[in-house]
Subunit: 285 residues, 2 copies
């Protein structure tokens, strides 16, 4: 039986691309929210769930952090970092010079603004609910229109790619995580994600936690504070550290941190992603 | 002469609301990007600029952080924290029961999904480039439509508010900053925002900076690490600390931190915002 992978749909999104990179042989099940993806995995409808966690252009990643902090017992089993490569696509036979209407979600439209101003200064720019809705609407029109969407959408909807890598920021990447009932066994090059809170807001507290990691030479890959849900002025701290929660020195430190914090939640340990350079022609036509 | 305040327009956005909260007697100048707002202040076209810095629903706040980190010498003079109150609005005389089409930017549509499912399960939901474009398109239609936008848009476009506070998360707030050539003199209850980087990625480095603040009992209101622009694996750290950069112990610590970091940029010192409870009826009709 193939692995069943739930993801934030519809088909053709960057999250589906991340799912295919994770396990191209899997059966993919699209869901309409991050919460629904997690529910599908918790209920056993899917084995794993793929959701964006940082810098997505297709929806709020706060949903994923809120899920991990407050709502779910699922663990992070894997991370995936994808270059966000936006493509301009149109119905087969459409020539670039003809395009006078461009559809997409406002976020990718904003991220491709310089490309549009340079190459299609006279085109009408129209908002869609998602990049996929943009491709569908573009296909339904009689006039020569184009849509901005991930490459995968062009395959699914059988349209032609007129230009790729058209986003203004060449280095734009999104980080995805694979959620499951269990995290990943140690591989020797792992990361662990945790969240914690303090009962009181004192300078020495965060310092105490950071010291605990520094004392054992554990590197922090990421640190972030976020307002606690519904309690203004209180913060949840998020840390990604290098190492596996089963490594002796990480395990010791986490026990120490548990004693210094009001709540501590370990989101899981997983192999550090090895980066591949983004492709794209920088929007040249 | 009134104070001239540049902001991320068009008129009717949450950023304009923040500007009015900042100085209701000012002359307001809308610009189409965060970068254009800063340029207007730097060129002297405006005295101050208002932009969102955290958790906006109207566009990417990464633009503001990138501006402060990399592109501008402007300082933060003030912070403003606004509850994001979304309103459902329609042409005068439209009854709630008639509404069968709802326009907005996909982000506020997503944030009001439960309200729409509960109160308008049969309505068609259509994307617009911004909340303001949604109100304009709704006004141009013959069928009974509504738009989801900030309250201020209803005044500007002379439409009626059918429901307010319709966002699913009652506690959703956005933080704005006022940028100017100079920051704010000390008031006794201030914050200072800084960014810094390290030449090498070692556990002891961030610990050294946090220790410097903890040693002088300086509280950190916020801490965040972000990938450095264009250099994967390198990070820029952002800290909001309590106190003014001219306070003796803050000034001493900043000098110490400058010696521990590769780059240190002070974004400015400004009075801490006093929160007012959000209004809204939770989307009841």
């Amino acid at each position: 039986m193939p692995n069943k992978v739930a993801y934030l749909g519809p088909p053709g999104t960057f999250t589906e691309e991340a799912g295919i990179l994770h396990d191209s042989a899997a059966e993919f099940l699209p869901f309409s929210s991050v919460f629904a993806v997690a529910s599908a995995v918790e209920a056993g409808t899917a084995d794993e769930g793929v959701v964006a966690i940082e810098n997505s252009i297709e929806g709020s990643v706060n949903d994923t952090l809120d899920l991990l902090i407050h709502q779910s017992k699922l663990l992070i089993r894997k991370e995936l970092v994808l270059p966000i490569t936006l493509c301009l696509m149109a119905k087969p036979g459409t020539r670039k010079e003809q395009v006078n209407l461009i559809y997409s979600h406002p976020n990718p439209l904003g991220q491709s603004r310089k490309f549009i101003e340079r190459c299609f200064p006279k085109a009408e720019v129209v908002a869609a609910m998602s990049t996929i809705a943009a491709v569908e609407e573009m296909k339904g029109l009689d006039r020569p229109a184009a849509a901005i969407a991930p490459r995968r959408a062009a395959e699914l909807y059988e349209v032609d790619i007129l230009a790729q890598g058209i986003q203004d920021q060449a280095t734009n990447v999104t980080r995805f995580v694979v959620l499951a009932a269990e995290d990943h066994p140690p591989t020797g090059d792992d990361k662990t994600s945790i969240s914690f809170t303090f009962a009181e807001d004192k300078p020495a507290q965060l310092h105490g936690v950071i010291s605990a990691f520094a004392a054992r030479d554990i590197n922090l890959a990421k640190i972030e504070s976020r307002p606690a849900k519904g309690r203004l002025g209180e913060y949840v701290f998020l840390i990604d550290l290098q190492g596996h929660r089963l490594d002796r020195k990480v395990a010791e430190t986490l026990r120490e941190v548990a004693g210094k914090t009001s709540t501590l939640k370990v989101f899981g340990s997983y192999p550090r992603f090895r980066y591949q350079a983004p492709e794209g022609d920088g929007g040249k036509l």
